[in-house]
Symmetry: C2
Subunit: 166 residues, 2 copies
DNA sequence: TTGTTGATTCAGTACTTTTTGAAACTTGGT
DNA sequence: ACCAAGTTTCAAAAAGTACTGAATCAACAA
């Protein structure tokens, strides 16, 4: 396989993977392109390489920066902005967990709290409250597990989980 | 809050959560409805409750069964099929992990293997291979971690992770 | 075999999300 | 103050996804 073929295949697959991970296809493709790019790229270069419009490139680059998956790099003397990807996979996964936890898990926890206040006036209501209580318990556990995971560093991950797997 | 309001809010929120988890909104809503339903429901009842078409209900119920999140329940004497949700959250999460691992992580691992065969003829190619090698290492680790997680039971999860959190 | 009840399929439609591209804005140099 | 190089925004268009409903299929009962 040639380098070009390999790169293209990687960008395509990373894009597909991203789109089932709450990161849209283009966003993931930009990330892939930057991951395998030895140097920082400008918006122009990204547009060119992925055949996308200026607006699309700009919006997705900013989103990647928001998610902490890409950094701006300013070259002295150059007005243009350049971009590099976070290349440590553990950091990448951590940042995705942080973002998705904030966007998805935390709002759900709030809703679960709210709906716990349903009047326990009927048997049905009491059953409902019980089901919600169990979901809340599980979700809180998941929430704190993720917090711990995110606070830990890469070596911890490798160590603990490798041991776990044996 | 009344029972009806609570139920509706739960169904809405679960639907929203699902749609960022590779489970479409309606699928997640059906799951939510079944979760908080004391008895098994028929397709008709689900259609009625969520105001969706027969086709939509049928397709999403089948998808939920595929994912192992809902079971068919046949009542003796009744021709109609009834459905119940898997209510153990740990089972739910496990099944989602299994499905998504199969659909997303495993194809990615295959692609990473393929593109490792790029000719290391230039410095650039060698750098590319190295980046891919690191991603592969991480992904394999994630893959086996998930395998272990999925093989373990609910108590293990509660025990180990609670300890981890302290 | 025919009628009835329920499940499934799928082409067309509705809805949602992403992308484009041109205009507006920003920044720094002259 | 003005220009040039670059960035950001956003309304409209395109692409992608989900939903509907009518037709079809399957199972059983009479």
């Amino acid at each position: 396989m040639t380098l070009k073929e390999g790169k293209d295949k990687f960008i395509q697959s990373w894009g597909a993977l991203g789109s089932s991970w709450g990161i849209n296809r283009t966003m993931a493709q930009i990330h892939a392109l930057l991951l395998i790019s030895p140097e920082a790229l400008s918006a122009e270069e990204i547009m060119e390489e992925l055949q996308i419009s200026r607006g699309n490139a700009n919006m997705n680059i900013r989103a990647l920066i928001d998610w902490g998956l890409v950094y701006k790099e300013l070259k002295p003397g150059e007005r243009k902005e350049f971009f590099v990807a976070e290349k440590d996979m553990w950091e990448v996964v951590k940042n995705i967990i942080i973002q998705r936890k904030k966007r998805e898990l935390e709002p759900m926890l709030r809703v679960l709290d709210e709906i716990s206040s349903v009047d326990p006036e009927s048997d049905e209501a009491r059953e409902f409250i019980e089901v919600i209580r169990e979901i809340k318990l599980f979700s809180n556990k998941a929430d704190s597990t993720l917090d711990t995971l995110v606070k830990s560093d890469s070596n911890w991950f490798v160590g603990t989980f490798m041991k776990m797997i044996k």
